[in-house]
Amino acid sequence: MLVETLVPARGEAELEEIADRLAARPSAPPFAPELIDFCHALSRALFTDPRARRHPELVPLASFLRRASVTALADEFASDAVAGVAQVPRGLAFHVPPSSVDTMFVYSLAVSLLVGNRNVVRLSQRRSETTEVLIDALNAVAAEHPQAGGGLAVVSYGHELEPSALLSRAADVRVIWGGDATVETIRALPLAPHATELLFGDRFSLAALDASTPEEDLARRLFNDAYWFDQMGCSSPRLVVGVGDGARERLERLFDELHAEVVQRGYELELGATLAKRAYAYGALADRPVRAYRELGNELTVLELETLEGFDRTHPGAGLFYAVALDSLDELADHVVRKDQTMTVSGFDGETLGRFVRAVNGRGIDRIVPFGEALTFGRYWDGYDLLGELTRRVHAP
């Protein structure tokens, strides 16, 4: 079947031929020099593209792909090695990234490529300028690095299932990002019996701060965490929990500072998003135990909850924060659910957080990172170790 191709070149091609070509190629050894070179070249291409300046979310991606950062990942991978066990690529990886966290497909792709897999990525036909910048960079780098680039294809088609079914049958590992509905739809397509898959459904993220140990600069970091993807990223915090004495006042001050940050950064919402957010917020007032409602301009709305009891985690994005004051992290632990992904934290010591993780014991929360790092991609994501999941272990004493 004919599909649009984006990488290694823009045009059209038979999907069967793409799958056959990728299947026939050998995998590279994990972290082979040509793979690291490829990532580094991609990093440079992104740093030098004049269009990239308009898209700040490309900066952390380009940093992630730098030689120093990729080499550090290689070192981690090497130090994980267990005597008598060799870690090898799975083979062909099929990625279905989310349509609107534009940079996600390259993170997904890069980690898989670095451990030696061949890769095919499906992108939607509705693509942002950021995505186009990324495609151009991938094409330029693939042309200069044919060895690594040859194991890579990015294709685009609509919501028809046949192309995904074909790629699913050809894949050794399938990586599905995006909403629950996408996961459900693509998951129903059969994989080869030996193939595995990584699933990233809808998630909810929160921030927690200890009111008694105030940190500097929290508002600026919370802004970056929450507003970069219009608060629609899976790791964008949407609930801010204040813990300990004076938590309510601390939260109130934090949102005042956040409002100042929003104004200073010149972040503005479209009117349609403002209206949708307000309608959502009024609905929440009708249904939920909201103690206080604050609108700090169109871009920041705060709903202070009396309790997390029954908190259902629906959310419109666009700068709406639930807030709640609790006596302790233990109290928060009682309310954690499977959907909870990232918790950005401030002011807690390692022991307190360790106790929290043990108390939750896998019911939810897959990442705990400092304020400001909610969107920083890493090998551990949604409870997976991506380096581990994208490789096979060969017992070879």
């Binding site: 349509s99 609107s100 509905a181 739809t185 990223g233 964008s236 479209e270 209206l275 309608a279 009708a286």
Partner: protein, 340 residues
């Protein structure tokens, strides 16, 4: 309602509305728990509105997501539904007998002002099938049923054979007829070459689909005149959530607020009332809704005030121009991929 319509100067009207709307806020706070929860958070300590703009309002889309009523479930006489344009959840508006009657009475008073006391033969540019489910009216069906009492000898244009249409036109050749339909239905289906001279066209339903075809209100009127000879064309604006309160277009193209309702044009950044002539988000208020808290609603439409007691047509009060809908915003994020 016997008094003359559009005769009250704005200052006097606004004072009367503020008082009546204040009473409605307190009525609905007492009768509708979700409404009380909202108002007590967004307007804590509310006691009385000095200006119409001070009355707490609800986003109109809340009627799609929430069941808001100020009467017990067993007193619901009729539920109006409207799907809007986006095909999502329909709005649900709960009426008891008294509210339904008030809507009918008020609409009649307004329409008689524009159409005169005599019921005219009525040509409906639609099909009867949109009326099917009488318990759950569609916006189109509700519009037709709401307007039908203002005409007689109704003919549904899209159900009629050509010779039936000819016979009907022959029968009413002498006097004026009333033509009614949704704006895009009229544009698409009202045929060229039927002589309806002296008639009145009343239409509604928004310009969205005509704007896509670059049809302006002026071009619409010119086209209708060319097709049928009709000189009197009245667009009207209103929403299912405030049925009975309609804003009818005068000879000068301005939509006039009726005696029982008004608009507040809000600045989309400060949300204060925008100065006359400035574009803003349209809030509609109506004194009719007693059975559901729909007396002050922030719409998703843009508009501006074009007259205050000084429309060249001579009608008092405010008149507006509707400038279209606020575009739906697309946020980024980990949203679904398969559906796109």
């Amino acid at each position: 309602m016997a008094e003359r319509q559009y005769a009250t100067p704005q200052a006097e009207k606004a004072a009367r509305l503020s008082e009546r709307l204040t009473a409605l806020v307190h009525h609905h706070r007492a009768a509708c728990e979700p409404y009380r929860r909202i108002v007590d958070r967004v307007a804590p300590g509310f006691s009385a509105a000095e200006r119409v703009a001070d009355v707490p309002h609800l986003p109109v889309s809340l009627f799609k997501t929430h069941e808001l009523r100020s009467i017990p479930a067993d007193e619901v006489f009729k539920t109006l539904t409207s799907s809007g344009t986006t095909g999502q959840q329909p709005s649900r508006v709960f009426l008891d007998r008294a509210s339904a009657a008030a809507q009918t009475r008020t609409l009649a008073a307004t329409m008689q002002h524009w159409l005169g006391p005599k019921r005219l033969p009525m040509l409906i540019v639609d099909t009867r099938t949109v009326l099917h489910d009488r318990a759950q009216f569609s916006a189109r069906g509700a519009g037709i049923l709401g307007m039908s009492p203002f005409g007689r000898d109704h003919l549904y244009l899209l159900d009629a054979e050509p010779d039936q249409v000819r016979a009907w036109l022959d029968k009413h050749r002498e006097g004026p007829v009333l033509v009614f339909g949704f704006t895009f239905m009229v544009w698409q289906h009202l045929p060229r070459g039927v002589d309806l001279r002296g008639g009145i066209l009343v239409h509604s339903g928004g310009w969205k689909r005509l704007v896509e075809q670059a049809v302006t209100p002026e071009a619409f009127k010119a086209e209708i005149r060319e097709r049928t000879g009709i000189e009197r064309v009245h667009n009207f604006y209103g929403m299912a959530e405030q049925t009975g309160t309609v804003y009818v277009e005068c000879e000068h193209g301005a939509l006039h607020a009726p005696d029982d309702g008004d608009v507040v044009i809000r600045d989309p950044v400060t949300w204060d009332e925008a100065p006359r002539g400035e574009q803003g988000v349209v809030e509609v208020v109506s004194t009719l809704p007693e059975s559901y808290p729909g007396h002050a609603l922030l719409t998703e439409d843009l508009g501006r005030v074009v007259a205050v007691d000084d429309c060249p047509c001579g009608r008092m009060g405010q008149a507006v121009e509707i400038l279209g809908r606020v575009p739906k915003a697309e946020l980024r994020g980990c949203s679904d991929t398969a559906g796109r």
